[in-house]
Symmetry: C2
Subunit: 385 residues, 2 copies
């Protein structure tokens, strides 16, 4: 079964795609971008009606969704499919004007990741029985694009061999907010020198266990990135949820039935529906992904993503730095309300200024933002969220 | 020369005015309210164009100017005169609709307190050579109105005897932000049992000296409250600034000359122009004023003035408490921007939300707000101030 996994010191690069031309991706491969999210952890910047994938969170001029599509297009000959909710379909069309209308799948209601990715798989399987899909969330930030491209390419090679392949992020901290992937023996598949079997997906750990995982060197973060043949995904799904598989194929065959059938599907995550049982059955591979990755889980993460403002030493600024006046404060200012934001003397501050809400907290309390949103929804002020 | 000063335990009340009727004040007495201010210490709530006297800072529904007039009217048979700048004249008229147009003196340009109060004195002297004026700043908060009324009445009695009378606030802390008044021997004037001579006005002290002053029991805060016969004030002024006195009387005689002559007057405070030299000459009396008094010098003071919000334990809220969402923060929120203000986990916070600026700081840094305003003015963003 090949050699045991040893973590990379530096990534070994395979043949590199041309990131510029956008035409050299393998013809059987489609990128699938599930674009959903509740918009609570970066509230009030992101809202239920405007989740974080619709926002430029890096100050680079492109939204996370656009960045995700930009990153994937060169790897897939521009074949990109987006799955999103009705509420966000217009915004997705506006942000991705080149997206083929047939490649925008609109969910009538949120059903978590399995029905979303499963529907994409069913649609692609009808187009090409050998189609491979590479699914990446719309709201992650990824760096080291050459490494990313190499690892996706390896994952595609393994997927063509019938594996459900995930990319597992090389951990940099004993994070307790992610699930982990325990890496097994090397796969030995041609074109995928870094691919290994997955021993198991493990739940979000406590901090002691997270430290053990980090020290072990054989645990990776589960970032929900999957590369798999569409037919393999549906076959694995059928083993656990045969009815869902049937319904998804019915919708792919006759899209006019979407509205009627969608509501019958259970809301379930792809990890629970397919990845975990398939791993137990020895069907899942992982390609370690030693690139920079961030799911921008809160304002503290967002602050870490941004460079210090040249205009405002000590501050990270998202939005218009010309609106910010700082005297001795440090932290993050999101200046998207069109008003002047003055910060004075407070360390590790988080100020998020929007047209109708201003949030003031500190980085230490960044995770509590979710609770504020829950409180607002519970107290009849959900329209603000 | 009477008995040496001993601080009051409790105020001895003189005959009480009827605070309701507004008609029993002595007919020779006019309240003069200098309504000026740069609007920097409570920025961005107060602005150069809208200084703090135009704002309701106590949440009571009346502005500081209106509160000042309300407090004085019953003591002066409703004879109230306001001196303000051109920029604020319309706002003063709107806030004090009962003010006689002849009792609104409009300065063409700011010249500090001496020309403002001196002009009022010159106008009143022409109306009645024995007129007494009682000058109180438009932007102070005063409690214990019965005590206030008694001490003003005593001051008027002493003023009729020819004294320049000041009310000196009984200190409650070793404050370094105020000048002090060193109290001399009792005056022994009929109708003013608490009046004493002023030994000297002393400059703002350092903290060690302020502690000595507080411990001494014979130092009061100089709050810039003066009660004096108009003719006495002008006579004292003439000893120091004969030219200014002449010009002020010329303007009073022919108000059409105001615009031409005003610019020639030096900008000088009444303390330096008159009170200090007059004290050295033994012409100044003080009535100790053991009532609650606050000049709302910064947002920390403002927070102290306000009660904790019943809706938001730990927070003081000025503006609309319905706009505030708090989870674990303490301090002050000024919610006057029409937007929702969310505060999360930060202690002793100061958030001031206005339609075009939001300020975020802590009570500890409340005094630094002035510096931000200076920076804005120095960097071409004075329009925000």
């Amino acid at each position: 079964m090949g050699q045991p996994y040893e973590p990379d010191a530096l990534p070994r690069l395979g043949s590199m795609p041309d990131l510029e031309s956008g035409v050299d991706g393998p013809p059987d491969l489609t990128a699938v971008i599930p674009a959903g999210g509740a918009g609570t952890r970066l509230w009030p910047l992101s809202r239920a009606g405007s989740p974080k994938f619709l926002h430029d969170l890096t100050g680079g001029g492109r939204t996370l969704l656009q960045d995700t599509a930009d990153r994937l297009r060169p790897l897939v000959s521009a074949r990109v499919m987006v799955v999103t909710g009705e509420r966000h379909a217009d915004a997705v069309r506006a942000q991705l004007p080149d997206l083929d209308p047939d490649d925008l799948l609109v969910e009538p209601s949120p059903r978590d990741s399995m029905p979303a990715i499963g529907l994409a798989a069913a649609v692609l399987e009808r187009r090409d029985p050998d189609a491979v899909l590479a699914s990446f969330a719309a709201d992650h930030v990824i760096g080291d694009l050459d490494v990313f491209a190499d690892r996706v390419r390896q994952a595609v090679s393994a997927a063509r061999d019938g594996w459900l392949v995930t990319l597992g992020i090389t951990p940099t901290t004993p994070a307790t907010g992610f699930g982990y992937i325990r890496v097994g023996a090397a796969l030995g598949t041609e074109g995928a020198p870094d691919a290994h079997r997955v021993d198991a997906f493990v739940e979000k750990p406590d901090v002691a266990r997270a430290r053990d995982y980090l020290a072990s060197g054989d645990h990776l973060w589960n970032a929900g990135m999957f590369v798999v043949r569409a037919s393999v995904l549906l076959e694995l799904l059928a083993q656990q949820h045969p009815e869902m598989t049937t319904v998804l194929r019915q919708i792919a065959e006759d899209p006019s039935r979407l509205a009627d059938l969608w509501g019958s599907l259970p809301a379930v995550a792809i990890d629970h529906a397919v990845a975990e049982p398939a791993a137990a059955a020895g069907r899942v591979a992982v390609v370690p992904a030693p690139f920079r990755w961030d799911d921008v889980g809160d304002f503290a993460s967002l602050a870490d993503l941004l460079d210090e403002s040249p205009l405002h030493p000590g501050l990270r600024v998202l939005g218009d730095p010309g609106l910010v006046v700082n005297q001795g404060a440090t932290g993050l200012v999101v200046a998207t309300g069109g008003r002047t934001v003055v910060t004075l003397g407070v360390p590790d501050l988080v100020v998020v200024d929007t047209p109708d809400v201003v949030l003031v907290t500190t980085r230490e309390h960044a995770q509590d933002v979710k609770g504020v949103v829950a409180t607002l929804r519970a107290t009849g002020r959900g329209e603000l969220t």
